[in-house]
Amino acid sequence: MTSTLETSAADCHPASVPDFTPVAELRALQLRRLQAVVERAWQRVPLFHERMEERGLTPRDVGSLEDIAKLPFTVKSDLRDTYPFGLFASPMKDVVRLHASSGTTGKPIVVAYTQEDIAVWTSVMVRCFAGCGLHRGDILQNAYGYGLFTGGLGAHYGAEGLGATVVPTSGGNADRQIMLMKDFGVTAICCTPTYFLHLIDRAAELGVNMKELSLRAGVFGAEPWTESMRRHIEGASSIEAFDIYGLSEIIGPGVGCECRRHEGLHIFEDHFYPEIVDPESGEPLPDGCEGELVLTTLSKQAMPMIRYRTRDITQLITGQCACGRTMRRIGRIGRRSDDMLIIRGVNVFPSQVESALLQIEGTLPHYQIVLTREQGLDQMEVEVEVTPQMFNDKIGALQGLHERLQGALDHVLGIRVKVALVETNTISRSEGKAKRVIDRRTS
């Protein structure tokens, strides 16, 4: 990368000016907005009003930012229980957009936006892209799914707001994605990191050298990914890979994003107030401690979220970033508190399996964790697709690979798991988030 790193509000994209707000000014703004959003939710959202009353609280009890810790949490099941419109704080005539989750585990969750909300969402997405060094003149291929999923439209509006040229490919059809990337001279792409890995593999099969394309940046999110995966992506495609964070319940993509320093993700905290709490007790944790990220929307109209439990495990990084932004950062999300698997009493995270696989051979094969129960005992099997790099035509070499994988997994997880080498394309690939765990245990 040869372009310079911006270090102040003076030489950044105009939309990024709030990123550099002096801290005292930012805290004052946050308090004003917090008081306003609590007032709005208290008056308009019955569930929030009830919970405040149960605690003997009114909006007047929020006199400082620290007082946020008194407020009740909102959790994902609150959105399901009030399906479809129970948490709305705006009448439908003011709502200009609805999005919904896929609802694989029951009723979907529904989120709503006013025109002001869409404008805020667009502005934070512009700030994400600008922080990644993108600008007018960039050609951005948006391979996030368009539709009820927030990813596609969120990134689309942001890229247009930036002034970039958007190629709205949506997800799917890898061959066409690669063709357009090449023929249109695409310079940046947005998609899930696993989908980009799939594009890298497919490009190689088609004889397209990713390194020779104009592509120079990738903005990847919607699922946790690791530093090793970043090195793999950057090495295989000669791009700079950025981690972007967001969730539909808060706004969609654009809650936070890495800058070019890649030392955590800046949270756009003039709109989203971050806290870290103990995932078990819910008690606030000091800065720097690892715990569950809790977010409060400070400016959302249609659907304010007060102290939403994200289930994402991370820590808050305080202190000014070398890029000059004053917005606090979160560490990259490696795991979610609800991703944790308990196998024969041992806590296991899918991200640990990923790092063990990456240690071997240095590439990330497609994998899947399958949980079963045999005679009352949990069994964990990791199915690993054999890649051309891993394949050797001597059976002894394959057995050696199998043993190395087994050893790395046993070592990292601390329990004995079964490793199965499987043929390529036998593990299903979703166009969006990878389904890493199949739980066939019946309780």
Binding site: E205, D393, K394, I395, A420, L421, V422, E423
Partner: protein
């Protein structure tokens, strides 16, 4: 001298050899020799075919993980001691056989041995010095 052999990874499950065999049939590619090295869970299918490059490209296009390796083919008389004579030529040379397999030839009382050596060039030199008949691809594929 060197023969191109196609190796592919397959799971040890019913029906898993059928797919590559069908692909070869559809492309009109003749399978001259086949060998399966397997464990309980997976295996390596090794094929010697009439058009190795086309076969590899077809299999890869259908998602198989394929490696093309070079092997040597040796013609021996199908009689007691035939194999021992060949191996005797390699005694004391330090040449390592990574694996081998054999099939009898339809043309008569001959067998064909397929060898994968760590160092095929050195193996060729030693075998030729001992007057052993190595087959080229044309002769091997001839019916």
């Amino acid at each position: 001298m060197k023969i191109q052999q196609i190796s592919l990874f397959i799971e040890n499950k019913p029906g898993h050899i059928a797919a590559p065999a069908r692909l070869m049939a559809e492309e009109g590619i003749d399978i001259r020799a086949l060998f399966l090295a397997d464990t309980q869970q997976y295996g390596i299918l090794r094929l010697i075919v009439s058009e190795p490059e086309k076969a590899a490209a077809t299999l890869e296009a259908h998602g198989f993980v394929v490696k093309v390796t070079e092997v040597l083919a040796v013609l021996v008389v199908d009689r007691p001691g035939g194999l021992a004579d060949i191996l005797g030529a390699l005694d004391g040379t330090g040449i390592n056989i990574e694996y081998m397999y054999a099939f009898s030839d339809v043309r008569g009382d001959q067998a064909i041995l397929i060898f994968r050596f760590a160092d095929p060039d050195a193996a060729i030199a030693h075998l030729q010095k001992a007057g052993i008949n190595l087959l080229g691809s044309k002769e091997l594929l001839k019916k």
